[in-house]
Assembly symmetry: C2
Homo-oligomer: 235 residues x 2
């Protein structure tokens, strides 16, 4: 007694609308930040929400996420990864909308983030001081945060939040902020350096009122080489 949708392919079922939403993370001096956009239309007019929008028929989901990111925040060429797909019935009060959520990592120094594009009000918020969010976006954001916390420990994605050249202190600070606990300086350096996936440069920090720290860069090639040999990144 099962219907066979293939038989009358395009008529069988009404379709949910399909959108993408993106949780964009960045690292501030002391906090993990998320970019939000203030809605200028009902529903949830005036409330903050994740950047996102409809998936077009002629673009993949990744492309849709990249396009929306570009249109709403000006961000381009950044780390983007699919998170989860949300399909509860009343996520959107207007009609059935399924959204494919992504999360993105961006280095604030390297990218010119337009705080406001397209007459929309966009801003960074600390993940620890979030406003009320539209739709189920608080859920999505919490899941993205959770995923980042988990994944940063066994994939070298944290580097996406730092400038190309960074100090070991910055790297440690990143992990401390994301994992929300303090790490031992000596043990941290020992571990990172022993993995041989960061490359010492001949440069040092600039404009600091104390001894300047050496700058390092993430060595993607070395990482891939090691990974092929069964190496497993872990912090």
């Amino acid at each position: 007694m099962r219907s066979k949708p293939e038989a009358k392919f395009q008529y069988e079922y009404a379709r949910p609308a399909l959108t993408v939403d993106i949780v964009v993370f960045a690292l501030d001096a002391d906090d993990l930040m998320v970019m939000l956009i203030q809605r200028d239309l009902e529903p949830f007019e005036g409330q903050w929400a994740l950047p996102g929008g409809f998936v077009h028929l002629d673009e993949t989901l990744d492309d849709a996420a990249r396009r929306e990111l570009q249109e709403e925040t000006g961000l381009q060429g950044i780390f983007l990864e699919q998170l989860y797909t949300y399909g509860d019935l009343n996520r959107d009060p207007r009609e059935r909308v399924v959204t494919v959520a992504y999360y993105a990592l961006v280095n604030l120094e390297g990218h010119n983030v337009q705080a406001s594009t397209d007459a929309r009000n966009a801003a960074w918020f600390s993940v620890n001081e979030l406003p009320d969010l539209a739709f189920d976006h608080a859920n999505i954001l919490a899941a993205a945060h959770e995923r980042l916390r988990g994944k940063v420990r066994y994939q070298p994605i944290g580097f996406e939040l730092l400038p190309e050249k960074f100090t070991l202190r910055q790297l440690q600070h990143l992990y401390e902020v994301i994992l929300d606990r303090e790490l031992d300086k000596r043990n941290f350096r020992k571990k990172v350096l022993s993995m041989e996936i960061v490359q010492e440069t001949d440069e040092i920090e600039k404009d600091v009122a104390h001894r300047a720290a050496r700058l390092y860069r993430f060595d993607q090639k070395a990482y891939e080489r090691l990974t092929e040999q069964g190496f497993h990144f872990e912090i």
Copy 2:
């Protein structure tokens, strides 16, 4: 210069079709198995594919996956988790179809799996001897396999593949099959027992031609208690 989809909500964009597909894993004597269904219609008529179908407007994604699983394989009440959403443009030759993939774990002894329901030909295949698959299902299956391999190590989901009561040897075998490497018997037992998440029963195996092994059961309560205290499962 950005369109505002909210303004003319239901007319702005044509919508992709939305489906769910499920990778159902089970454990055979020696292999990790997957359930496949032979297609009885074009496209890919006669080829094997993952069970799945259209998402209805009045059901969540999880509900759709459960319904399709029930309709196509008779399986009910089993472990089911969202995997990833696939939205490449030409996944389906007929038109744009986005699919939310799930994976499921089932214990062959405890469930009466209908090998063929609804005049469809369904069968179990070893993940090591798969036929050609329709659409991008080979991709999806590989991703599910990868996810299972990764997740089984830090979440106690492996138990879903075993009967309620199992021997430690069976549990070890499960990990050996999924991780595709041999484990040391003594070290494995030591580790599992030290976690205190399996409960010894007073029963032993039946009908074996040698000393019968003690049966254990997974202790969900104990697991949750430990997890709250910061315990982290890991094999």
